[in-house]
Symmetry: C2
Subunit: 342 residues, 2 copies
DNA sequence: CTGTTAGCGCATTCAC
DNA sequence: GTGAATGCGCTAACAG
């Protein structure tokens, strides 16, 4: 690149290559074959691009094409979520793969900010918007959003019929059932399934019950408490002192499991010999506990990736709701199943 | 807004208000006074804007002004960091305050991706770039970045002299010393201060030693281990069995502290009666432990906010390195200081 | 196969 | 105080 020169324009490239701007434009947009441009012209243009250090001006291109190659992501609190923020990782990776950029904005749950953000993103001319939530739940997307292509991430809006990408909580519940069933004795759920209006709790519980039933087992009790460490700790300690012991604990998330560990620590029950513990989330916390926690993971990065892919996929209009599998993260909190080794 | 009509342009607004595009433009850009435009014209234009539902086309404006009102944030792994992702929250909030958007991209530490991302952001015409890292450390920013305004976030590049925003680890170390000194007995540091080439460890240790010295105390031992739960657990358990007990433990981060709790759990030492525990990070984990952990917090959201503010502040060219205070998050793991109540 | 031409929507200089 | 004219850099009809 010639130093000190101003930023080269397409016209400069064309001039240096001895072709017209049109020709140069076609070549740079990969339409040289279609337009049957001479190989020689192509070579000259490419050389000129390198010599001049030419980089297309995306703003100008956007003005012309009405496409910005950016996608917006509006969320309540995703970036603040200690674990859910991986949705951003996945989303930004998928965007980059498709030669797009990710614009993010957080509303902190404020509908006013939400509306503002949506309008501004629309003004900015994003090619689409991902509407994400920290917790898996039902939402009503602000009407102003609907001017753009929208994909829901970790939430659903039944009324709108918008495409959504969510974890398969029901399937996760079934997976948890298989894990919990490895231990004998009563299966006890820890955590209120109706926590903060999320879908997660009820769907996990439904899957759990369905699969347990198939296995000839059942949820024997539910210890209702908030999905936090201290709440789970005290609720479970209280429950334990007032009733029979459990064979396995199914915790609504990893923090609840941590609380359960702490409660069990004060009793004479050891994990997994006396009681098995399974939970949901797949956060790093699981690997910090002793024994490590077996947990049905939330595939946040994959969710974010799938959402952006769907958004950018031209023929994914009414693709409905994609439910991504929740992978089991194996730890030491459930008995290992004996395997037949030849 | 008239339904079914195409998106109104400035010309439409001007026509409806009976003025020229120029006049309308001045009014919308707040230059009506400067240009001494009649109040009546202003009112007519504003009314037309509302009637038509006019929204300026930012792409066109950008082409004209060579400003996109977007800032880029390139990081290694910030969005994946369970706690550091709050830098994004702060950064996006600060951007929005300044009527900008935040473009994010993650390199996962790959220099190639980094270069690509930088080039693309430059092409995109961002008004500036925040270069962030998950861990506080030294970096060498890719030269291609230097074409734009750059502010470093949670890292420094001594060679470049680029403005940076980082936590005040040294001050944090001093704060930890005051906390640790509340307990009698040896002060023991847990965690290798040279962990993964971060600045954090050495600076925290330096501040700790400096302040302890002022208090007539000292770091009596250092238990070197990775900054993870299992490493800290086993290292400390081993250290304890091989030497004298400690009066207070200063843990290099909250996970190390969790490991320390686990190690202490297996011994006869209770927190904080027998041993005080202080750590760094201020993550949520601190509130999950029993007793809750006293920790010197990393102000991630503030860091992100300050970085974008600095980037967008026209007269913050060579503002050097801003060190933001690490706020103490008080928990129950150190003895409370007796207070004189009247 | 290549060049001419005309906008995309806006900000701004310069006459009136 | 206002309006006509120009160009930001690019794409894409349309004509040669």
């Amino acid at each position: 690149m010639v130093r000190g020169a101003r930023k080269p324009r397409l016209a400069d490239v064309a001039a240096r290559a001895g072709v017209s701007r049109t020709t140069a434009s076609y070549i740079l947009n990969g339409r040289s074959d279609e337009m049957r441009i001479s190989a020689e012209a192509v070579a000259r243009v490419r050389a000129a691009v390198v010599d001049l250090g030419y980089r297309p001006n995306r703003t100008a291109r956007s003005l012309r094409t009405a496409q910005t190659r950016t996608v917006g992501l509006i969320s309540d609190n995703v970036a603040s979520g200690h674990f859910a923020s991986r949705m951003l990782t996945g989303a930004s990776a998928a965007a980059r793969e498709a030669d797009h950029f990710l614009l993010i904005g957080e509303t902190d749950g404020d509908p006013l900010v939400e509306r503002l953000l949506a309008e501004q993103m629309l003004d900015q001319g994003v090619d689409g918007i991902v509407y994400a939530t920290l917790r898996h739940r039902e939402v009503v997307v602000p009407p102003s959003l609907l001017q753009a292509r929208v994909v829901l991430l970790n939430c659903v809006d039944p009324a709108s019929g918008l495409p959504a990408v969510v974890p398969d909580e029901h399937g996760g519940g079934r997976a948890a059932a298989d894990l919990a069933a490895r231990a004998a004795g009563p299966v006890v759920v820890v955590g209120d399934e109706r926590e903060q209006g999320t879908h997660a709790g009820t769907m996990r519980l439904a899957g759990l019950e369905e699969r347990l039933d198939e296995l000839g087992r059942a949820v024997d009790d539910v210890v209702r408490c908030d999905w936090t460490v201290p709440a789970a700790r005290s609720a479970l300690a209280c429950w334990w002192s007032g009733g029979g012991p459990a064979g396995s604990l199914v915790c609504m998330n990893d923090r609840v499991a941590m609380g359960a560990y702490q409660a069990l620590d004060g009793l004479d029950a050891s994990i997994p010999a006396d009681v098995a513990v399974v939970s949901f989330d797949g956060s790093e916390l699981a690997s910090w506990l002793t024994p490590t926690l077996t947990t049905v993971g939330l595939p946040f990065a994959d969710l974010g990736e799938a959402a952006v892919r769907t958004l950018l996929d031209p023929d994914a209009r009414g693709s409905g709701t994609q439910r991504l599998a929740m992978p089991v993260v194996h730890g030491g909190s459930v008995p290992t199943v004996a395997r037949v080794t030849p």
